[in-house]
């Protein structure tokens, strides 16, 4: 019984962790690049347009700033990642 429960819990935990990206906050902008703050680390990404501003929450992939995320959505997703079973 215990083993079965353990297996089910393990599966549920694994399903919680799906493919949602972690947003970063722009703390520095230069021509063609931005520095993102992820709380624990800072990373640099390439930008193609001037659409981004300091303080924007964005998603970066493959070194490219791909899209701006509304602040509310960014904070909500950061909260999801901080839940003990989803990190």
């Amino acid at each position: 019984m215990h083993a079965v429960n353990h297996r089910i819990i393990k599966k549920l935990k694994s399903l919680i962790k799906m493919c949602l990206a972690i947003p970063g906050k722009i703390i520095k902008l230069e021509k063609g690049k931005a520095i993102l703050d992820y709380g624990t680390e800072k990373r640099e990404g390439k930008t193609m347009a001037d659409d981004f501003n300091i303080g924007d929450y964005v998603i970066m992939q493959a070194g490219i700033i791909i899209q701006k995320i509304p602040k509310d959505d960014a904070l909500k997703s950061l909260k999801l990642f901080k839940q003990p079973d989803s990190t």
Binding site: K17, C19, A21, I22, D51, Q61, I66, D73, S77
Partner: protein, 157 residues
């Protein structure tokens, strides 16, 4: 293209997130990237191990269609249809996920509106996104592409 490589091209944006979350290390990520970009051989078992969450859903679909999990049609239908349905239905983590994040997770069809070096500017539903052209280096402005997260995966039509 082998079904394994087709799968990896669509699943690869998730590898980036697995790396962000510390589930795979940089070495594994770079290894997958090289296989995805250069269409190198990879064992099905490796993909099943790394992307095991996707296979929970793929198996559901395969069972419905009475086919195997590695049937090309099943993998195709999963990424081009079922995957978005799962997000829209808000299953599992998508239940609490913000709309913009859910939208990024979907596989979308978009037009290339600008290109600068290895970055493509794409538009869909009046929204703009910048994506990597690494899987479609031949893609040009006005081409239509399928996009998953920050990668243009294939040119369509």
């Amino acid at each position: 293209m082998r079904v394994e490589n087709y799968f990896l091209r669509y699943a690869f944006p998730c590898a980036f997130i697995l790396k962000q979350r510390g589930e795979i290390n940089q070495k594994k990520y770079d290894w997958l990237f090289d296989i995805a970009v250069n269409n190198k051989y990879i064992k099905k078992e490796e993909l099943e191990k790394i992307f095991f969450r996707a296979f929970n859903y793929i198996d559901e679909l395969a069972k419905e269609k009475n086919k195997g999990r590695w049937d090309f049609e099943i993998i195709k239908e999963y990424f081009l249809k079922r995957h978005n349905e799962i997000i829209e239905q808000g299953r599992d983590m998508y239940k609490d996920a913000p709309e913009t994040l859910k939208e990024l997770s979907k596989v979308i069809e978009a037009e290339i509106t600008d290109k600068k070096e290895d970055i493509l500017e794409i538009r869909f539903n009046n929204k703009k996104r910048f994506v990597s052209n690494i899987f479609v280096p031949e893609a040009k402005i006005k081409d239509k592409v399928r996009v998953h997260y920050g990668f243009a995966v294939e040119i369509i039509g």
